[in-house]
Amino acid sequence: MNSAVIVFPGSNCDRDLATALELVTGRKPAMVWHKDSGLPDGVDFIGLPGGFSYGDYLRSGAMAARSPIMRAVKDAAGRGVPVIGICNGFQVLTETGLLPGALMRNAGLSFVCRPVPLKVENSQTLFTAEYDAGEVVSFPVAHHDGNFQADETTLDRLEGEGRVAFRYQDEVNGSARSIAGILNDAGNVLGLMPHPERAVEPAHGATDGRRLFEGLLQTVAA
């Protein structure tokens, strides 16, 4: 699997994501600067990492979403290349319109930073294939603006089409329907606020995140 991790000014989880990908796939991802106009040839997986791109100025992910590289990322997503947006990456995906809804300030107003239980709502996706349906896993969250909101019609459609990938099992940030992660229509773009890349090795204190990348590798390398 030839991964690319996009780096925006202010991204700070790019190296963790790269480390997780190298650990699971055996290959170092290409680190792609946001100002590049194209992706390296043969990229078959794209990661948008967590962090504080552009300092969260204007809105989290708003300016990163308008970076030159995002044209290439949107095109790749349109061709079916798997894309994951983690935390700030999820915010970027909603700002580009690749995913619906918006991530707003946490309902409790505090920055939340702890491991959270998540239910795998759909284990049939290319990201969740290595999990059991309904399995409860633990990933850490670390965010101030993780409150997922969308109108009722959109929420009903996400639920009805099995596009809710992960659901919080306790109160974290006020997200509508406790939605922690969602997929696009075609099922190749996943956005989630929790950090699977921070739960891939024993030193992390949790390893549930590893299977997300393993599932991805299985599908892409197949």
Binding site: L58, G101, M104, R105, N106, A107, L109, Q149, A150, G174
Partner: protein, 79 residues
């Protein structure tokens, strides 16, 4: 020429920051505050003759997230 863009949350979108400000005002002894919603003001210094439609496009494409926000543009008269 100058323009001001006011960005506000759409009606019905929860505003916990507005609520926090509300509580803080009450804590200071202001009893007649029914509700508080917080928005943003962006001031633009633009080339003379910039079209309204350009400013609107700036709002739709970047300044406001139209999923959850409204915008209002005010062109300022030169002093």
């Amino acid at each position: 020429m100058k323009a001001r863009v006011f960005i506000t949350l759409k009606a019905g979108v929860l505003d916990p920051q507005g609520k926090a400000i509300h509580h803080a005002l009450e804590g200071l002894g202001f009893s007649g505050v029914n509700d508080v919603r917080a928005g943003k003001l962006i001031e633009l210094d633009l080339a003379d003759g910039t079209a309204d439609s350009d400013i609107e496009e700036m709002c739709r494409k970047l300044l406001a997230n139209t999923v959850i926000e409204n915008f209002r543009i005010e062109r300022l008269q030169d002093a």
